[in-house]
């Protein structure tokens, strides 16, 4: 898989699109009763319109985007800090986006810092934060 070596501050990363079906959520979270992720009746009882995807799924999407950018330098040496600002529901389509904010030297190489976010099909941000990794 090709890894980008010409990385510039301000560069937009290729966005990822993710359709979150209940089947994906079930596979991620494990099907349990009394779970807001996999038990629709329980989710409604807790005040949600339907089941929610785990916020952690969005960290996996960010991880995918960063691994596409930096390869091994994210798998070993990567960081991420994300806040989950809006629920993601079963049936939502997320778009994962990133913009390079900083490229800086470190003792182990060059670290690339990316502002990352996920937005739903209504263009509402659901997760925001940053991720980084080392340029090979």
């Amino acid at each position: 898989m090709a890894i980008a070596h010409d990385i510039a501050v301000g560069q937009e990363l290729p966005p990822l699109e993710k359709d979150l079906t209940q089947r994906h959520i079930d596979a991620y979270s494990g099907v349990r009763t009394r779970s807001i992720h996999t038990d629709e009746a329980w989710a409604r009882q807790k005040g949600f319109r339907t089941t929610l995807a785990q916020g952690m799924m969005s960290t996996a999407y960010v991880s995918e985007m960063m691994t596409r950018l930096l390869g091994a330098g994210f798998i070993k040496g990567g960081t991420m800090a994300v806040a989950f600002v809006k629920p993601v529901y079963a049936g939502d389509r997320l778009t994962v986006r990133g913009v390079v904010k900083e490229v800086r030297p470190e003792k182990d190489g060059t670290r690339v810092v990316v502002e990352v976010w996920c937005e739903n099909q209504h263009r509402q941000k659901t997760a925001v934060g940053s991720a980084s990794g080392l340029l090979a």
Binding site: I75, K76, G78, F84
Partner: protein, 140 residues
């Protein structure tokens, strides 16, 4: 014998520690995770720069997130924040364990939160992932 109690803000103590069971990462786990997050990177199933297949970096994140379930019955919760440092690749065949410590609890705008630091290690004690997460407690 573990005695479980309902997770409440009052029951939770800053400084309390959790340890997960050891968990064997299997090729099937890697495959299921790839389906769940719709990421079928070739390094998960074949050669990689690390000399063989590696797992998705967040593969065992739920082991850390569910640490509180080792002691409490968790009614419901929402994940508010997540921080990771990916230090070493995770691979099928590793037996991994997460350890966590509650480092803060606070109330904000009528909501209750807990903050947990964690590390995930292999069976040789090598730290694979470390980080911190914040969870909102949803009352019963």
């Amino acid at each position: 014998m573990t005695e479980f109690k309902p997770l409440t803000y009052e029951a939770l103590t800053v400084g309390e520690e959790f340890v997960s069971d050891a968990y064997l990462v299997t090729p099937e786990d890697v495959d299921t995770y790839a389906f769940a997050v719709d990421d079928h990177h070739p390094w998960f199933f074949g050669p990689s720069p690390f000399g063989g297949p590696v797992a998705h970096p967040t593969l065992v994140a739920n082991q850390a997130l569910r640490l509180r379930h080792s002691r409490y019955v968790v009614h419901a919760g929402l994940h508010a924040k997540m921080q990771f440092e990916f230090l070493e690749p995770i691979r099928a065949g590793m037996r991994v364990r997460s350890r966590g410590r509650v480092v803060d609890k606070y109330e904000r705008r009528g909501k209750q939160y807990m903050v947990t630091e964690f590390v995930t290690e292999d069976d040789a004690g090598t730290t694979l992932v470390r980080g911190q997460f914040t969870q909102m407690l949803i009352p019963a």
